[in-house]
């Protein structure tokens, strides 16, 4: 019995209307910004009532300079209804932990480890919260905006080490849009901030 995506969103809004701080609809995609206190209840509601049984991705955004510095984004998909949903959570910098959704969708295990590794946001109740891409003991969180692209030196004897890689005048970026391939060739264009 396939329900349309619109009906799913309507039942979502009917159940959680006050707790949604923002709704964005763009080119057929719907995103709701929710608060961290309701995360587990909303997640369980989405999985059980609305049949969003597939957690596609958990990712995190660092908006350095804005007040809730981090955002965690959950991409949900409903296989019986073939509908996508995006849930965004704003996390201020002082909040160090967020609830985990590992027991609701088991795939969240590794996604939350990656968010912890790259951004430093911890997850309360996670069964195995340790770094997944870098090694344990690595002192930085690499995908934060205040971490440089070329890296910072670090040393862990017998485990790993890092050095600063030579950028030679800035990251090699391209200029998108029209123009021949000579204009679009990636060159060392230092970022104008």
């Amino acid at each position: 019995m396939a329900v349309t995506a619109q009906e799913l969103f309507e039942s979502f809004e009917k159940a959680w209307g006050e707790k949604i701080s923002q709704k964005v609809e763009f080119r057929g995609e719907t995103s709701y910004t929710i608060g961290a206190d309701n995360l587990r209840d909303i997640a369980r509601f989405c999985r059980d009532q609305l049949r969003f049984d597939y957690l596609l991705d958990i990712t995190s955004i660092d908006n350095l300079g804005e007040d809730p510095r981090f955002e965690i984004v959950y991409h949900l998909y409903s296989m019986p209804h073939a509908a996508h949903l995006r849930l965004k959570l704003k996390v201020p910098e002082e909040t160090e932990t967020v609830d985990t959704v590992c027991d609701i969708w088991p795939t969240a295990n590794w996604h939350e480890r990656e968010v912890y590794d790259m951004m430093g946001i911890k997850f309360r109740g996670h069964p195995d919260l340790r770094r997944i891409l870098m090694w344990e003991g690595y002192p930085y969180f690499p995908l934060r905006k205040d971490f440089p692209l070329e890296g910072l030196p670090s040393e862990m004897p017998d485990v790993a080490f890092t050095k600063v890689s030579p950028l030679e005048g800035g990251p090699f970026v391209t200029v998108p849009g029209t123009g021949g391939s000579k204009d679009r060739e990636p060159r060392a264009r230092p970022p104008e901030l």
């Binding site: 930085y140 690499p142 692209l149 890296g151 790993a160 890092t162 890689s165 990251p171």
Partner: protein, 178 residues
């Protein structure tokens, strides 16, 4: 008609004997049976496998024996991106290889870090282990890997394991033995 001298031998009785320099024989033996240690870390490993398959056939050079145990290998082919997380493991494997050993850095990532100038990629495996041959390409074609292997073979044929003992004699030897 064979002369009967104490030092002569008759090839019909004793078989064929070749006289050569020890270094030449040693180098010939070593270079034609280079057993690779395939340190296949990323996409270059696919081209390494292609070089070992039938169309490009690394077995022509005696190097089809890709033993994954470093104790049995001569040359480590570092094929792929060396991340900092993997770097010390590569070094440990290199240290477990017995002498004589050589290293081929295959591809851009193993030579210089490639397109990954970032916090997580070691900018070239030659920052940790001594490299003999660098092969450029992303990934290099299997023929390029075979050309690099042949260059390593030429390098091995120039080695002197025994001739160095007599410096006067070394000056008289030709550049490449065998």
């Amino acid at each position: 008609m064979t002369e009967r001298r104490a030092t002569a031998y008759d090839s019909k009785i004793e078989g064929n004997v070749i006289f050569s320099r020890f270094d030449a024989v040693l180098n010939w033996v070593r270079k034609n049976s280079l057993w690779p240690m395939p340190m296949g870390l990323a996409c270059c490993a696919i081209e390494l496998m292609a070089a070992a398959a039938s169309r490009f056939d690394i077995a022509r050079f005696g190097a089809e024996v890709m033993r994954f145990s470093p104790r049995q290998c001569d040359v480590m082919i570092v094929a792929g991106t060396v991340t900092y997380k993997m770097a010390l493991a590569v070094k440990r494997i290199y240290e477990q290889m017995p002498e004589p050993k050589w290293v081929i850095a295959m591809g851009a990532c193993a030579s210089t870090g490639g397109m990954y100038r970032s916090y997580a990629v070691l900018q070239g495996i030659d920052q940790l282990i001594p490299v003999d041959v660098y092969i450029s390409g992303c990934p290099p074609r299997p023929e390029a890997l075979l050309a690099g292997l042949m260059k390593l073979q030429e390098k091995i044929s120039r080695e002197r394991s025994f001739a160095k003992e007599n410096p006067k004699r070394e000056a008289k030897l030709e550049p490449a033995l065998a």
